[in-house]
Symmetry: C2
Subunit: 202 residues, 2 copies
Amino acid sequence: MNFPSKLIENAVEELAKLPGIGRKTALRLALHLLKEESEQTFLLAEAIIKMRAEVKHCKQCHNISDTDVCDICTNPLRERSLLCVVSDIRDVIAIENTGQYKGLYHVLGGVISPIDGVGPSDLHIESLLERLPGSEVREVLLAISPTMEGDTTAFYLTRKLRDQQVRITSIARGVPVGGELEYTDEITLGRSIVERTAYGKV
Amino acid sequence: MNFPSKLIENAVEELAKLPGIGRKTALRLALHLLKEESEQTFLLAEAIIKMRAEVKHCKQCHNISDTDVCDICTNPLRERSLLCVVSDIRDVIAIENTGQYKGLYHVLGGVISPIDGVGPSDLHIESLLERLPGSEVREVLLAISPTMEGDTTAFYLTRKLRDQQVRITSIARGVPVGGELEYTDEITLGRSIVERTAYGKV
């Protein structure tokens, strides 16, 4: 692609480094910024710089936070007996948005994936094992995506958590709400039958 | 959407103002920036600020440029007898990428669209009429999208250019390369027949 300006080319190249943004989209974004009030560009630049420079990770749960310990960990209204283990911050946001969970979280920061060179020591597993003894946590809910890597991670965690005085649970697997039985894969459909629940329970 | 951090929320809000980027995508971008080296975020912010602050518009053709007159206008190898009128800078880039055009450009900065409150005086039409007399331009090629607004703009321009000593041409309308006749709309197919060309001409 030929650009009429080195400044635009540079901006397009940086924008195109973002995930899911190709050079054509990056050009559209750059030209959009040029059309808008220049203040808009400065606000955007300031917001991402400020975020990158100042955002913290909660010392307890490794969630993103503006403070040393996050709002969820310090909230006295959250159930301290329930701890939900997720791989990513996005999962925390997704679960929070359901409004169905009132316990605490622990963010692993990924899943075990030998192909990508991610082992257990690269995740926040040690700090999970350290925070449990002496805490109020009675149940650890594993909310990890049911992929190969996710299942491996969950399996590793259950082994590590075996000696702790906690109940280990997992989010339900089954046919998604609005999904059609016919198009549901065999494994999911099979598990939804094996793990059937009393009708009208939820 | 509940965010664990005001800083992230702010960054997501600013990113989501970009066209085609919703809040979910914006969050993905923000979390991506948090995972990458912080230098990456600063480079991105610097690139867009620098672009917004320093980019210029060519005084002759209104194309984007790093200098007062753009590289195309100053290039002695371009044909000065041919002037291509486009609505947007993106069209210049698209035409340049074809490698088929060696003339000059004139960027209108939009199309006439009464619904959006854009009249002829909001476009760079006056400067087009001013640059023609005494110039080497012998042909004005209208390369404006064949939409209702585009056609209105083209019609307006042909009226305005009538008294100038230039030939007015338009990019060919027809069946796109790789397109199937069966799925081509009637108007396009009809025009491709009326404006048929000698076989093997291009």
